[in-house]
Symmetry: C2
Subunit: 310 residues, 2 copies
């Protein structure tokens, strides 16, 4: 399909132009898909290490997943009901030598060449925590304290091409996951909202935490979004990046029993299992830092440099 | 499509079982797609840092690219002529609310739901160096010394499901790229083959360098493979991982004028531009280390631990 662009305000387009001119971002030619120059990537790496320092001190188990996951996992999760417009499916060639020659001809002619492409068993990761639940479930009943995971910076895909430098089609989401008894999980979510706010302020960023909702698809999605806000299931950490409106750089999400039921997470005594996740958007936080403190990290306030180990 | 498995010898299946049981690899349920436990990921990370230490000392520019890239870039590269069977294309939903409901019904019924999925502008990265050439070309004519890049560990996709733990569908390829005059590029490739061999031996691995060829598709592919070997365009670094045959853990590739022509890389004086790349397979090297020195890095020889900064 010809991807349709979301419009972006002038301030966001100008901001992106500056970041590219400074070599911080590398354009690929597709909106919302960027490479990182050395300075941007170093900042992202140090931010990840800063977050991991906290989770290590708190005893989180570290795991790391690739940018693709089993299609079956997404199919069984309800994601495609709520966000069909955002998911990326992976197709591959399914044919013989004659088909390959036909495909080659279609490509050379600039025509649609999807004819010999078939859906594989894989999709792009829609949210970093999805692959973690089955891994924990496969270990058997949860220990009494549940589980606490740091998944590091995972590549996550959202099919929403945009000229806004903060709205990527593919970006690093650093998710921290808690699995356990409902009260413990809800308390953990609140603690992480506080911790996220404190971290942004220590990094010299103006931050607030607010109720939010996910971009549910279609008319039915409006009700889901309203219900999510009403029940305070999603909190977002907002920070200025470009233009007037602040941008969400992290979220703190209560899933209730959803992922526990989907993955078959249980306590030995049969007690209820809830899950929650905290997700930090690496690229958005780095963009906010560049906006707040300037494009050259060598000139940033020493307190911010110390916080990031620069 | 129902992905067909390449058969794997018993030694490889047993090796994979051990790595999963030890928590080093995390199974996802799809062959050749694994998460990494904390120990495996730490080893991979330290290996990347070890490689980057060399490239930094030699003055390489560091860049980092996401696991997806413009489809147009792959279409224009010839990759789909040579390796149509390995490429991953990204599709996404293209429809209205009624289509979303129909798609949901197909998923719930366990049926093929590709009807409302359309090819997007993106593909999965087939080799880590692909996104780098247009970025360098966009800067204008090359400086006299050409360019030297370290792309770090990039996620690369190959659609070849297998039970061999060393044959992943998605893995980290750490590519180092040289762009310049033909003689300089050819000399650089030879130096990196020596450097790769020395690194593997410093890591306590039995390594050899041999002529090799890429897995070109179909009958015509056999001639391309023979020609590639005859011209010594591809060298591979082979190391034992599982079973009798050693496995390629790195390659050193001369592209001649191919990528320079495709991307429009030129010298100001119009002299010929060649490119070459060195690619280290992070996961395969970590697997080779685990096989050579055991599953617990705390017990590895001190020289190897020092080399990796463990």
């Amino acid at each position: 399909m010809t991807d349709q662009l979301s419009p972006a305000p002038a301030a966001q387009i100008e901001s992106q132009r500056e970041l590219v001119a400074a070599g911080l971002l590398l354009e690929t030619g597709v909106p919302g898909v960027f490479g990182h120059g050395a300075v941007f990537e170093r900042l992202r790496h140090q931010l990840a290490a800063r977050i991991r320092r906290d989770t290590a001190a708190l005893g989180a188990e570290h795991m790391h997943f690739p940018p693709v996951l089993p299609r079956q996992l997404v199919e069984g999760s309800g994601y495609l009901d709520s966000f069909p417009q955002l998911a990326g499916t992976i197709f591959a060639f399914d044919g013989n030598e004659r088909d390959a020659i036909e495909q080659r001809g279609l490509i050379a002619a600039g025509r649609d060449w999807s004819k010999h492409q078939r859906m594989t068993d894989l999709m792009l990761v829609p949210a970093a925590c999805y692959p973690a639940y089955p891994v924990i479930a496969a270990r058997g009943p949860l220990p009494a304290g549940g589980a606490f995971l740091d998944l590091g910076g995972s590549w996550v895909f959202r099919h929403e091409p945009s000229q806004d430098p903060a709205r990527r089609q593919i970006f690093h989401q650093h998710e921290i996951v808690r699995i356990g008894a409902p009260d413990a999980v809800e308390a953990w979510r609140g603690e992480w909202a506080d911790r996220g706010l404190a971290l942004m302020r220590a990094l010299g960023l103006e931050a607030t935490v607010e109720d939010a909702n996910d971009p549910f698809f279609g008319h039915g999605g409006k009700m889901l979004a309203a219900s999510q806000r009403e029940q305070h299931l999603k909190l977002e950490l907002l920070v200025p990046i470009a233009g007037e409106q602040p941008t969400a750089v992290a979220s703190f999400n209560l899933h209730r029993e959803h992922f526990a039921e989907v993955a078959g997470l249980v306590f030995a005594d049969g007690g209820p299992v809830h899950t929650a996740c905290t997700g930090f958007g690496h690229e958005r936080i780095v963009l906010a830092l560049l906006r707040a403190h300037g494009l050259d990290p060598d000139t940033w306030p020493q307190t911010v440099r110390n916080e990031l180990g620069l």
